[in-house]
């Protein structure tokens, strides 16, 4: 079974994340970045499926030069090969354009049996790329899987909702997005780190995918960040002095915040 996993390079949530002053896009260059944690679950799930049977895992990313780090991490975890789509014209692309680029890249890799994505990116957190991508590829979309199994020509997932858990079956090829409940992503082993150095990474530009620059980028975006403000510094908490009525004051506070 051949699987394509879409992975994203995102700013490290541990460090300060900012927007570019000039065009209000997420700053991915001046900050430390990494493979989106939510995509690690997708990589892990793909590796498990292939390890239990046979086939190859290809990871695909659309992003700037540094996004190669996200691919490298996935290769170190055990993916077989990687595709990096980079082109200056892609800068500022929204989900619609990103899904277009991903779709064309995936088509160029061949016909995978399964496309797996994370449930959202940890920077944009929109969760719409999987659905758009499935639509563009003409694949059934089964999203937010917290369990996944493949049996012959079908994939079965469990989706946990607030009220119920659904079991959904789709025919392959299909696109599945997975949640952070589905598995425990592995750490790259030393052998994985060494082996990754020799794994192939293809670099494609828009022209290689037959996409016109006018279809992507900030100007083509359907959504736009108009402005941003820095998060205000955290305000100091309220200190209640206990003059014998501390309990009452605490209860009043909780009631005022509608906790009780």
């Amino acid at each position: 079974m051949n699987i394509v996993v879409c992975v994203k390079y995102v700013p490290d949530a541990q460090s300060d994340r900012t927007f570019n002053e000039s065009d209000n896009t997420t700053d991915r260059v001046g900050v430390d970045g990494l493979l989106s944690e939510l995509d690690e679950y997708a990589v892990e799930e793909a590796l498990k499926l292939v390890e239990a049977g046979e086939g190859e895992v290809t990871v695909v990313t659309v992003g700037p030069d540094q996004a190669a780090d996200a691919l490298k991490k996935a290769l170190q975890m055990g993916a077989d090969k990687a595709v990096h789509v980079k082109d200056d014209a892609i800068h500022g692309s929204d989900a619609v354009a990103t899904s277009l680029v991903l779709a064309e890249a995936i088509k160029k890799t061949g016909t995978p049996d399964l496309v797996i994505t994370g449930m959202a990116s940890t920077d944009g957190t929109m969760s719409v790329v999987p659905a758009m991508l499935a639509e563009r590829l003409g694949l059934p979309q089964v999203t937010f899987a917290s369990e996944l199994s493949v049996d012959g020509s079908t994939v079965t997932i469990r989706r946990d909702g607030d009220a119920a858990s659904e079991t959904i079956v789709a025919t392959l090829p299909a696109l599945v997005s997975v949640t952070d409940q589905i598995n425990e992503p592995r750490y790259p082993s030393f052998k994985g780190i060494m082996a990754a150095k020799k794994k192939p990474v293809e670099e494609w530009a828009l022209a290689d995918l037959g996409i016109d620059a006018s279809q992507v980028g900030l100007d083509a975006a359907w959504t736009k960040v108009e402005s941003f403000t820095k998060r205000p510094p955290r305000e100091q908490g309220q200190i209640v002095t206990d003059d014998g009525d501390g309990g009452t004051k605490l209860a009043e506070f909780l009631a005022a915040q509608k906790f009780v």
């Binding site: 490298k72 750490y187 790259p188 082993s189 030393f190 052998k191 780190i193 060494m194 150095k197």
Partner: protein, 396 residues
């Protein structure tokens, strides 16, 4: 000019730039593993004097590739000496006990079998030790013979084609959980003096009671090995090596790991103290704002930087095949001594909180008391350096 990014307070000298991307990746994966799997629990393990599911943990360390990582073949990862050092530093930044588990497994037990064992020893033990299925220990020290192992009393007798071991070893890391023990015993003049034996711990006559009441390395198993007429087949012995050269070659490996490891405990303590000093206010301002505190932080940072440069220098020499045992002594002596000073100084910055297990410092500080002593005491390494400088041997 592009604005300079802020200086990393824990890498003032930019030593990271001396590492390759791959070396950083190795370090990163060890750190990520420890942050999730060990860091949240280790203070509790230390307090209780017991690592939860130590076999499971050992297998996870094996899956990552940490066990015998600098050895070639037999399922070992075949990494460089610098990679191994970086891993030791991260391990010990979490806890010296966990680093000791890895060091003894890889640098003492596995190294001994790899270097001195027969092809059969290697095939039988190394693959399962690399995955962590099998745990090893290394028995040299005895109740009455520590710094002077040449005087050991454990005896190996030839009985027919077999060997019979009698004696006791003391302070043996991993002893009670080990599947295999590398035991050094005196076989008598006619058989070459001190010889090494590969002893399956289920051999009749072998027992390994755990040593209790330690106030250091509490997240590590330390044991006595009792050898009461342990009968081993003739091929249980390391065929070639004779005399102290055998055990000392292994110790040199493990000491090299300590050159790096000790700095991990120091880094963790210094970083804890640095953060604390910024947050904690007295007399209306952060402790970090007082010159005396800054003096402490700066002094500690200097020693950490120097220690790291020395460790890296020795690591590059080891990878080049030019590292001498005396140079390992330089590294161990300097780095453990400075590391323990950094822990103690860091502790003062936390005041009373410094003695609490809520913070890692007192744990590191107590752990390093063992590290100061094992793998050659500070005194012994001083005398090694003294001999290298003067030609005079002062310890006999």
């Amino acid at each position: 000019m592009t604005p300079q990014s802020p200086l990393d307070p824990m890498d003032l000298a930019g030593i990271d730039d001396l590492l390759s991307d791959e070396e950083k990746a190795i370090r990163g994966t060890v750190r990520a593993f420890l942050d999730k799997r060990v860091e949240p629990f280790v203070a509790d393990w230390f307090e209780r004097g017991e690592i939860d599911d130590i076999r499971g943990l050992t297998k996870e360390l094996g899956a990552l590739g940490l066990l015998g990582m600098h050895l070639e073949g037999y399922g070992c990862a075949g990494m460089s000496a610098v990679d191994y050092g970086l891993a030791c530093l991260e391990l010990e930044a979490t806890d010296s006990g966990v680093r000791s588990l890895v060091s003894v497994q890889g640098s003492l037990a596995m190294f001994a079998i790899h270097r001195w064992g027969t092809e059969e020893h290697r095939g039988r033990w190394l693959p399962s030790m690399a995955t962590g299925e099998a745990i090893g220990c290394f028995g040299l020290t005895e109740p009455d013979h520590g710094s002077d192992p040449a005087s050991m009393r454990t005896r190996a007798r030839r009985v027919g084609d077999d060997w019979v071991l009698d004696g006791a070893k003391m302070w043996i890391t991993n002893g009670s959980i080990a599947d295999v023990a590398v035991v050094w015993a005196n076989a008598g003049e006619e058989h070459g003096g001190i010889r090494g034996f590969v002893v399956p711990t289920d051999s009749p006559g072998f027992s390994a009671p755990e040593i209790k009441h330690k106030l250091s390395l509490r997240a590590s198993v330390t044991s006595e090995l009792v050898l009461d007429g342990v009968r081993l087949p003739g091929d249980a012995v390391f065929p070639e090596v004779r005399g102290l050269k055998g055990p000392l070659s292994c110790l040199s490996e493990a000491r090299y790991g300590i050159v790096w490891g000790s700095l991990g405990a120091a880094r963790s303590s210094l970083d804890t103290a640095r953060r604390y000093s910024i947050e904690r206010e007295q007399f209306g301002r952060p402790l970090a704002g007082f010159q005396l505190t800054q003096q402490k932080l700066a002094d500690m940072a200097l020693e950490l930087v120097k220690g790291q440069l020395l460790a890296l220098h020795l690591g590059r020499r080891k990878d080049a095949g030019t590292l001498r045992p005396e140079q390992v002594s330089l590294g161990k002596l300097n780095n453990i001594r400075e590391a323990i000073d950094i822990c103690r100084m860091s502790r003062t910055i936390l005041g009373a909180n410094g003695i609490s297990l809520e913070y890692p410092i007192i744990r590191h500080m107590n752990n390093l008391e063992s590290v100061l002593t094992y793998e050659g005491t500070v005194e012994m390494h001083t005398l090694v350096i003294g001999q290298a400088m003067t030609g005079q041997q002062a310890f006999r």
